[in-house]
Symmetry: C3
Subunit: 251 residues, 3 copies
């Protein structure tokens, strides 16, 4: 059973899985595969083609939710459980793992690699050639840049490693590597690599402490980071069990 | 007389007041009340439901203007004279007073309380649990945050009090209180409460002076703040008279 | 030959050139002129009228591309070769030269003057009364402001001169002049005029060096600025020849 609104324009060539719903005024172009159980809301356009696309389709994994007014290009693929906010734009040749969440107004410029269970909040801008690991968090109005002396032909994408957290309104400058288990504080402009396990903040961003120095404000006095110590909502059970045992051993 | 475009999809269950116009390709879901004399432009979707909604409808006050491509959820209510820009997103369980203006690309995350005559310019992000008083001004690309050590289960909304002004591209950190008659300068990152009557600026934001020290650049030499001394456009006449008498007495 | 999607709503009074295509669910109002060979994608609305419009139409030059979900008002004009990203909003009484590019989520507030071959990346906000010269580059999340003590009746637009480059997430404060051949580094808050040939950076922005001190990271050791030394993609051939001869003479 599919539930396709009568005003939606869905190509006969698109491959639409079982139990998919497609909202009013949405457009699905030819080269699109939508996994079963997914919901595409209204005013979405999937499978836009430009000159940078190859022949590979836009692939949306199973049980995904694409909120209204979103635009996704051909030649990008997403694992199961993709969730977008409203008005998200994702360009071509972007490869994304499972459980990706990207909030309202998110803008991914294409030619990016993104791992599993990455969560971007509203209005995040991911520049061309960005590489993002697994379990990364990116908060509102963060920009990942790529041109060291704009405008130029030299593009150096940023690299954001596993479990890194980039807080609101930070800019990651071209080619910067934000290593695993790090926190970039709000409003930072990050021009140098961020070492694993460290916290940086400011404009320009400077190292301020080791990440385990930041305490939870919930009254327990525990360390707030690495966040997988205490924050498990929405992650796969097997992974959460590993996290729990990792930190119980370290006590 | 209603003016509903033939391409609009309007639920029979929605309560649409007299003299309401609804633009092309707009969608009005079941649980929506639109006050009389309001105008809904094209590509808007009103009354979206998610798991956080309760049974209360989306209520739009009288003589409101919702510009095109906006998305408003169920279980939020707005007083008379709401004006939105284009592509505004307002989530569930947000209670807003009269005369609210929110510019293009505004993004209210839901579960917020907003008073009367609040004006947000373009691309403002209001996080969950924010509380905003009356007569507040928020300028482009300002973000009100709520998580003191993201990601976590501890959410501390910001509080912005009456007549406060937050200038462009500022971030208000979680749980911060910006008191009445204050100015947060452009590009600030505000981590501490801002005392009533003061100006803060910078990253991190620091107190720089009392708000009445800032002079108008219109040649009169008068104080620019509190702004209600000299700026009255669009406010109710009775209120403006109070403001005028407040400052004539103080001379 | 025109290619107008059957779901598009195109006024009989609009003047649509040859070889124009108009996408699904787009709306073209009365007072619009679209130059030949242009492509309007889906969900666009052209020729919106408000109280600030005069009788002049929205004019889109030849061979333009308006990407989906964009909204352009009446009483603005664009030279040939306009290219917009998705969800661009451009208000009334804005006059723009040839070859203008404005990325996804761009927001031009109206009453602006913009020269030839200006390129704005994603999510740029151009305030009322801004003046932008020729060959200017503006990168993501930059805001040009205009109110020196908001809210007020005093509006001082910014002026950005030829070949200036404003990097990501910078704010240009009201009335500031960014002169020709300058670079504003990422994350800057610019409160003073930027002298021709200089680089400023920081919050607040400070002069750090002459622009020719910044070297290319492509291994050649050449100066990265003025960028027209080495970056020619997409500019008119005659202009590029002038640039090449300008810098060969200077060696």
């Amino acid at each position: 059973m599919k539930d396709i609104h009568p005003t939606a324009l869905v190509s006969d060539k698109a491959i639409i899985g079982d139990d998919v719903s497609i909202g009013a005024f949405s457009i699905i172009h030819d080269n699109v595969v939508v996994g079963k159980g997914s919901k595409i809301e209204s005013y979405c356009e999937l499978g836009v083609v430009n000159k940078f696309c190859d022949d590979t389709p836009l692939v949306i994994g199973e049980k995904s939710l694409i909120r209204s007014h979103s635009v996704l290009y051909s030649s990008s693929s997403f694992g199961d459980g993709l969730v977008t906010g409203h008005r998200v734009t994702i360009r071509e040749r972007t490869t994304v793992g499972k459980g990706f969440q990207i909030g309202t107004l998110g803008d991914i410029q294409g030619h990016c690699e993104i791992g599993d269970y990455v969560k971007c909040h509203s209005n995040v801008h991911i520049g061309n050639l960005s590489k993002i690991g697994n379990y990364v968090w990116i908060f509102p109005y963060v920009v990942l840049t790529n041109d060291p002396h704009p405008p130029s032909h030299t593009l150096l994408g940023c690299e954001i490693q596993d479990f890194a957290v980039i807080a609101t309104m930070s800019v990651i400058l071209p080619g910067v590597k934000v290593c695993s288990d790090t926190l970039v504080g709000a409003g930072s402009v990050v021009g140098r690599d961020v070492e694993s396990g460290s916290v940086v903040v400011g404009n320009p961003a400077k190292h301020i402490c080791s990440i385990d120095k930041i305490k939870l404000k919930d009254g327990t006095g525990g360390s707030a980071y690495p966040w997988r110590r205490h924050f498990h909502r929405g992650y796969p059970e097997a992974e959460v069990e590993k996290w729990i045992s990792e930190f119980s051993e370290s006590l």
